[in-house]
C-alpha cells in the first residue's frame, strides 16, 4: 500500500469528526516513514466538500420544525379539535389519540373511552384506512393471487378479511375486502399501507401479470369513515335515521349496504375491530362533518362518546386482533399468527412458495399468543420472555400490552417460540424479575365473539 488514498479507504483515516485535519497529517507522516519517502511525495488525500464546518440547517433548508415532513389532516380535524381531541402523529396522519376532558389524565380519558364502547357506544374516525378500487374482468383472479386467502368466492355485498404477503411469505398488510360488483372490489388496507399497497398492486399488474384485465384506483382520501361501535351502535344508527334495514338478520356482520344515514348517501360496512357491533360508515369528505355531527347529536343521549386511537388499540388488544406492524415484524408469516389454513388453497399467491421453505416450517418459530398475568404481574411491551428454570435464553417477547379497563388487569399479545402449542405454560417476564404470565389464546375478552354479531 503506497497511496494515501488506499490508506484512507482501508483505515477510514481522514473521515470522522476532524475530517482529516489532524488524523490525515499523522497518517501522511506514518506512511512516509513506512515507505521511506518524504511526506511531500506521499501527498494528501483529495479533499471534498465540506472543507469547513457547515451548520446542519444549511442542509435541512426548509425541512425543519413543522415543515420537517408532510403531515396529513383528517377531513374531520376541525370537529376533533373543537371537542378536546389531543392529536398525535400516526403514520403521517394527525389523528386524535384521545379526547381529554378537564382534569382528566391521558389514561383516565382512554379508560373512559374504552368503557363507553363496551357499555354503550363509541364513534371513531377511521378515515385514513386505505380504500383502493380494483376493477375489471380479472379483478377476482388478481386478488386471489394478491391475498393469501381466497377472494374470488366472496359474494357481492359481502366483506372478507384478508392477509397480504410479500414474496418472502412475510405479512405486509391486512384489511377487509368488499365485493362491490362481480368485476369490482374495494380493497381495504391498513392506514399506513394505503399508498404503499396501491403502488404494489400496480407494480404486479404492470410488471408481472400484464395479461390481467384489471385497473387499480386509489380513493383513500376522498372519503371519511366515521365508525360507530358498541352495544348501542344500532340504536344510534336508528336514532339518526337510515333507509337501510339494520336488524341483525337484514344486515349481518361482514356485509355492507349502500343507502342513506341522516339523509346522506353512504356505504355502511359491518366489520369490527373492537369485538362490538360496528358500522363503518364511508362518506364523501364534503358530507363528513354533517354526518359526524348528526351521529354525536343523536348518540350522546344514548351514551355515545368519541373515541381516539389509544382506546381503539386497547379494544382490539382485549380481543386479540392482529395489528400488522405492532404484532408482526419483517419475519412474521401467516402460520405464525395461526393462519395455516391457507396451505389448503389450490391457487398460487404471492409468498406461497416461501411458506414451504424449511425455515418457515420450523416448529419453534415465534407464534402469536396471548399472555395472562400471574399474581397481578405487569406485562410491559417489549419485555423478553423466558421459560422458568435454568435456561436463561429468550423464548419470545411482548408485542402489544396495556391495562385493560374492561378486565381490570394487564392484557398482552406476545410472539413466543412454538407458542401455539404451549398454551397454559408459564413464562417468566425477564425485565421484571420473578414475575410470571401464562400463555393463553390471543383473545382475552369474550372469546365466543357473540357481541359483535348481535
Amino acid at each position: 500500500m503506497v497511496s494515501i488514498e488506499h490508506l484512507k479507504r482501508y483505515t477510514t483515516l481522514g473521515m470522522a469528526t476532524d475530517q482529516g485535519k489532524t488524523s490525515s497529517v499523522n497518517g501522511v507522516l506514518a506512511l512516509a516513514g513506512l515507505t521511506g519517502r518524504p511526506p511531500a511525495d506521499v501527498g494528501t488525500i483529495r479533499t471534498r466538500f465540506p472543507y469547513t464546518p457547515v451548520a446542519l440547517g444549511v442542509f435541512a433548508g426548509q425541512r425543519r420544525g413543522a415543515l420537517y415532513a408532510p403531515t396529513r389532516k383528517l377531513p374531520l380535524c376541525r370537529w376533533h379539535l373543537a371537542h378536546g381531541a389531543v392529536l398525535d402523529d400516526y403514520g403521517g396522519w394527525q389523528r386524535p389519540a384521545r379526547y381529554r376532558r378537564a382534569a382528566e389524565s391521558d389514561s383516565d380519558a382512554e379508560r373512559r373511552e374504552v368503557l363507553a364502547v363496551r357499555r354503550a357506544a363509541g364513534l371513531f374516525d377511521g378515515s385514513p384506512l386505505g380504500k383502493i378500487e380494483v376493477a375489471g374482468p380479472d379483478a377476482a383472479t388478481f386478488l386471489d393471487r394478491v391475498y393469501a386467502n381466497t377472494m374470488s368466492t366472496l359474494p357481492v355485498g359481502r366483506l372478507r378479511y384478508g392477509l397480504m404477503l410479500n414474496e418472502l411469505g412475510v405479512i405486509i398488510d391486512d384489511g377487509v375486502v368488499a365485493r362491490l360488483a362481480a368485476d369490482k372490489f374495494l380493497v381495504g388496507t391498513t392506514s399506513g399501507g394505503a399508498t404503499r399497497i396501491a403502488t404494489m398492486l400496480s407494480e404486479w399488474l404492470q410488471c408481472e401479470w400484464t395479461d390481467l384485465r384489471v385497473l387499480v384506483a386509489p380513493l383513500t382520501t376522498c372519503f371519511a369513515v366515521p365508525t360507530l361501535t358498541g352495544p348501542r351502535a344500532r340504536a344510534v344508527l336508528e336514532a339518526v335515521g337510515t333507509d337501510i334495514p339494520v336488524t341483525a338478520d337484514a344486515f349481518p356482520h361482514m356485509t355492507f349496504r349502500v343507502g342513506k344515514v341522516a339523509g346522506i348517501d353512504v356505504r355502511v360496512s359491518r366489520v369490527s375491530f373492537t369485538g362490538e357491533i360496528s358500522y363503518e360508515i364511508t362518506v364523501p369528505n364534503s358530507s363528513a362533518e354533517q354526518l359526524w355531527s348528526a351521529l354525536t347529536a343523536k348518540g350522546t343521549p344514548l351514551g355515545l362518546e368519541p373515541v381516539g386511537i389509544e382506546a381503539w388499540m386497547m379494544l382490539r388488544l382485549e380481543k386479540g386482533y392482529l395489528h400488522v406492524g405492532s404484532d408482526t415484524d419483517g419475519t412474521t408469516s401467516p402460520d405464525d399468527v395461526g393462519w395455516s389454513q391457507i396451505h389448503n388453497r389450490n391457487v398460487d399467491f404471492i409468498g406461497r412458495r416461501s411458506l414451504l421453505r424449511p425455515e418457515n416450517r420450523r416448529a419453534d418459530r415465534h407464534q402469536l399468543v396471548g399472555l395472562t398475568p400471574v399474581n397481578g404481574a405487569r406485562l410491559p411491551i417489549g419485555a423478553q420472555l423466558r421459560a422458568p428454570g435454568r435456561d436463561q435464553s429468550s423464548i419470545g417477547y411482548i408485542t402489544s400490552s396495556g391495562i385493560s379497563p374492561t378486565l381490570d388487569r394487564w392484557v398482552a399479545l406476545a410472539m413466543v417460540k412454538g407458542g401455539l402449542k404451549r398454551l397454559g405454560e408459564q413464562v417468566e417476564i425477564a425485565s421484571t424479575s420473578a414475575t410470571f404470565a401464562t400463555i393463553a389464546p390471543a383473545c382475552a375478552y369474550e372469546p365466543t365473539g357473540e357481541r359483535l354479531r348481535g
Binding site: 415532513a69 389532516k73 385497473l215 387499480v216 380513493l219 364534503s286
Partner: protein
C-alpha cells in the same frame, strides 16, 4: 414561447407571487390498454381532444391531462354525461372513472416569481420550453406528490396549478408560503 413576465399581475398588487388554495372538479379516467383508436373515438364522441403524448394536456373548455399510459385526469366537467359517454365509447374495454373532487384540491401559484418559487421546492425544469402550456407532470413538490400544469386563469404566463391530495394540502400551502418569503410574499 413567451418570455417571463417582468411586471406583477394586476391582481397580485405589489406581491410577486400569490398562493391560493381552491377546490376543483376532477375525474380520473383509467382505461385498460387503450389504443390510438380509443383515443380518437373518445375525442370524437366527447367533442374534446384526448392527449396520448406522455406528460401533455389539452386545454379546451374541459382540460384533459395525460397521467400515465392508462390514466388521465379530466378537470372541470359535468360528471354524469362524461361517464355515460365513455362507457358507450369504450364498450367492453375495461375502464374505471373516479370522481376525486373530494380527495384532491388545487393550489394556484401565480405572479412574476411563481416559477422561481416552484424551482426552490421542485427538481423539474419548469422553464419554457421544457415545461410549456401543453405540459403536465406528476412529481414531488416539497416532498409531496403532486401534478403540475400551467394555468391561464389570469391570462399570464407566470401561473401554475398544482393538484394535490386534500389531506396534505394545508401542509403544502404552509411549505409554499414559507418558501415564498424570500420573494417578499406576506
Amino acid at each position: 414561447v413567451a418570455d417571463r413576465p417582468v411586471a406583477p399581475h394586476p391582481s397580485a398588487g405589489s406581491r410577486p407571487v400569490q398562493i391560493t388554495l381552491m377546490r376543483i372538479d376532477l375525474l380520473v379516467v383509467r382505461i385498460w390498454r387503450p389504443t390510438d383508436a380509443h383515443a380518437a373515438e373518445i375525442s370524437r364522441t366527447l367533442g374534446l381532444r384526448w392527449p396520448t403524448t406522455p406528460n401533455t394536456r389539452t386545454c379546451d373548455d374541459i382540460r384533459v391531462l395525460w397521467l400515465g399510459p392508462e390514466e388521465w385526469a379530466v378537470v372541470g366537467t359535468p360528471h354524469g354525461v362524461l361517464v355515460a359517454q365513455l362507457a358507450e365509447v369504450l364498450n367492453d374495454r375495461p375502464h374505471h372513472v373516479a370522481d376525486l373532487a373530494d380527495g384532491r384540491c388545487a393550489i394556484e401559484v401565480h405572479g412574476p416569481a411563481a416559477r422561481d418559487l416552484l424551482s426552490k421546492v421542485c427538481s423539474l425544469d419548469l422553464d419554457s420550453p421544457a415545461f410549456g402550456a401543453h405540459s403536465c407532470a406528476q412529481t414531488l413538490l416539497a416532498q409531496v406528490a403532486v401534478c403540475i400544469e400551467q394555468t391561464a386563469l389570469h391570462g399570464d404566463e407566470g401561473g401554475f396549478l398544482i393538484h394535490v391530495d386534500s389531506s396534505v394540502s394545508s401542509w403544502l400551502m404552509a411549505a409554499l408560503e414559507e418558501a415564498a418569503t424570500e420573494f417578499g410574499a406576506p
